[in-house]
Amino acid sequence: MGRYAIRRLLQLIPVLLGTTFLINYMVWQLPGDPFAARCGQRPCPDAYINAMRAEFGLDQPIIVQYWHFLKNLLTGDLGVNFNNVSVASQLADSWPITVRLGLMAVAIEAVIGITAGVLSGLKRGGFIDNVITISSLVLLSLPVFVTGFLLQWLLGVQLEWVKPTVSPEAPFSELIIPAFVLASLNLAFTARLTRTSIIENRRSDYVRTAIAKGMTNRRVVGVHLLRNSLIPALTFIGTEVGSLMSGAIITEGIFNINGIGGLLWRAVNDHDFTIVVPIASLLVLVYLLANLLVDLLYGVLDPRIRYE
């Protein structure tokens, strides 16, 4: 499996080169000059625009620009943005907050989603099953920004249980509600997936064997049934890390969190591509690594698809 992991890691290199090139290319091809509207009410003088274009290398061919990007990336120097602020320091400020939010969301998805799915699958058609099925349907049908505003208004404004917005340091406790909002869609889906596979596997022959072996109910469900039923849910959670990242942009907006979502949002509005490009590339990398992790995890969970 070690060799498989290394091979997969090496495969990431061409994929990353391709995607970052596309990101660079497409971003700079967007209509509208990034510098033309930077002078308030009046149009910017041509001299300023040309100077800025030269400073950021926009006057050079795309392939040369990409080469500069790669060189800067490898030397760890991401340069400054259009406002002369270090890009690396902005990323360093916001990235950990988004990672924290994302990891909390994944944990919530896994723990609550799987628990709810197991409970409702075991008591199929019972009261708990109905409650869980209906609430997951509600979560599934609401867009993230509706769930977000709703919880913010209810828990933050009406009941005043939490602060409606998150402070700049974004401590763990303040991120719980935003992380739940971010997780909500995938949470509901995880619960449904788990429920289905529990119901399916419950009647399987190996579960019957475990009962015939005289195992306690707790062991039959907690070991034999659960281990097999987790496979689809964990695969789903892993592959959805990417969508979680794009969801983070909306969630961070609602709760005023200083993560990369907000940074990216402002940068896109300002046409500040010095920020957009590294963040987009970073998201691609996260997505690729998450997928690799899922593939490796899959082999661990299910020995039938182990890689040599």
Binding site: R208, T209, I211, A212, K213, G214, H224, N228, P303, R304
Partner: protein
């Protein structure tokens, strides 16, 4: 029901046999109606004895076994009546926790398809060792040693190297051996084998049957062998119960049954075995289809397919007539069947 229970000579404790099923009735409640899958089944097995339960799919032979084992899906299954006495105690009246302790320790079971019956995500050794860890509180290391011993005992080559392999890495015959190793781990007194060789090649079938017979001799277990294959039964069984439509239609020793069947269904089964001396002739087949459990024929369940059928067969359910000693036949005309005329 006026079934006559064939008395077995020697018994376990308390005079009765080791495992006795008496007048067991199991129904399945489905949307389409109530299916009487097991309709008053009575049989018993003693230590060291092999009872073969013979019947086609839907005859209730597997459902009876699952009910003994306590692995029947309830619902849709429902135990309507009867007793299952193991060493004199009615298992159906035991609280679930006591019942659980009997499984694996007292009565164990092996299944038809070992690939699906073994858990795909755990190593085979782990699955065998689980018996020792959960029932006997052994440590992982000790239990694993025991697992290797058992794998040796069921003659899995290089058991020590293969103890950490997964079920899908074994051949069908080897998987069934692992299943057997797991079932005999705690020296159960009764082993139920539900079509243990159906999914295997003919050559492997013989090996597995031999292994079962050998293990039985060594440990003096009672063996209930559920099968639809008459060939499998002949060599190993002491006595046979033939089931049809949820009832036992014939009880006999192997010798008697093969020499002179007392029920038209058994007779049809025996005649449908291909024989070398009749090569070139058309193979006999029992006419018609197995009965639909949701819509059983009136009277004798076999009557629509029976060459001996008369008025009485459509109106009266035949009781299990005692022919002699332990022999019984649920046919109004068992005398005629035995004499071999009609048809």
């Amino acid at each position: 029901m006026t079934e006559v229970l064939p008395e077995t000579k020697s018994g376990g404790t308390g005079g009765g046999a080791l495992l006795e099923v008496e007048n067991l009735q199991v129904e399945f409640h489905t949307r389409a109606g109530v299916a009487k899958a097991v309709n008053g089944v009575t049989y018993s097995v003693n230590a060291g004895e092999t009872l073969a339960v013979l019947g086609e799919s839907g005859s209730g032979k597997s459902v009876t076994a699952q009910t003994i084992m306590g692995i029947l899906d309830i619902p849709p299954g429902k135990i309507v009546g009867g007793e299952i006495r193991f060493r004199g105690t009615d298992l159906l009246k035991l609280p679930e926790d006591e019942r659980r302790k009997v499984r694996g320790e007292g009565i164990a079971m092996i299944f038809q398809d070992a690939l699906s019956a073994l858990n795909p995500v755990f190593p085979v050794g782990w699955q065998i060792a689980e018996m020792f860890r959960m029932h006997r509180g052994m440590s992982r290391a000790d239990a694993k040693k025991k697992a290797v011993e058992l794998m040796d005992r069921v003659r899995i080559p290089a058991a020590k190297d293969r103890v950490s392999d997964y079920p899908h890495q074994f051949s069908g015959g080897m998987r069934q051996r692992i299943m057997i190793a797991m079932s005999i781990a705690l020296d159960p007194e009764v082993l139920i084998a539900d079509e243990p060789t159906t999914a295997l090649d003919v050559t492997v079938q013989a090996q597995i049957m031999e292994l079962l017979a050998e293990l039985q001799r060594e440990s003096n277990m009672g063996l209930i062998l559920i099968t639809h294959d008459l060939g499998v039964v002949a060599d190993v069984a002491d006595k046979i119960a033939v089931m049809y439509g949820g009832r036992i239609v014939e009880n006999a020793s192997v010798h008697d049954l093969y020499r002179n069947p007392a029920h038209p269904y058994t007779k049809g089964l025996l005649e449908s075995i291909p024989r070398v001396d009749l090569k070139g002739q058309e193979l006999y087949a029992i006419k018609g289809m197995p009965p639909n459990l949701l819509d059983m024929p009136t009277g004798c369940a076999f009557n629509p397919r029976c060459p001996y059928r008369q008025e009485k067969c459509v109106t009266d359910v035949p009781p299990l007539h005692t022919i002699s000693g332990t022999r019984g036949s649920a046919c109004h005309f068992w005398r005629e069947v035995l004499d071999g005329d009609a048809q």
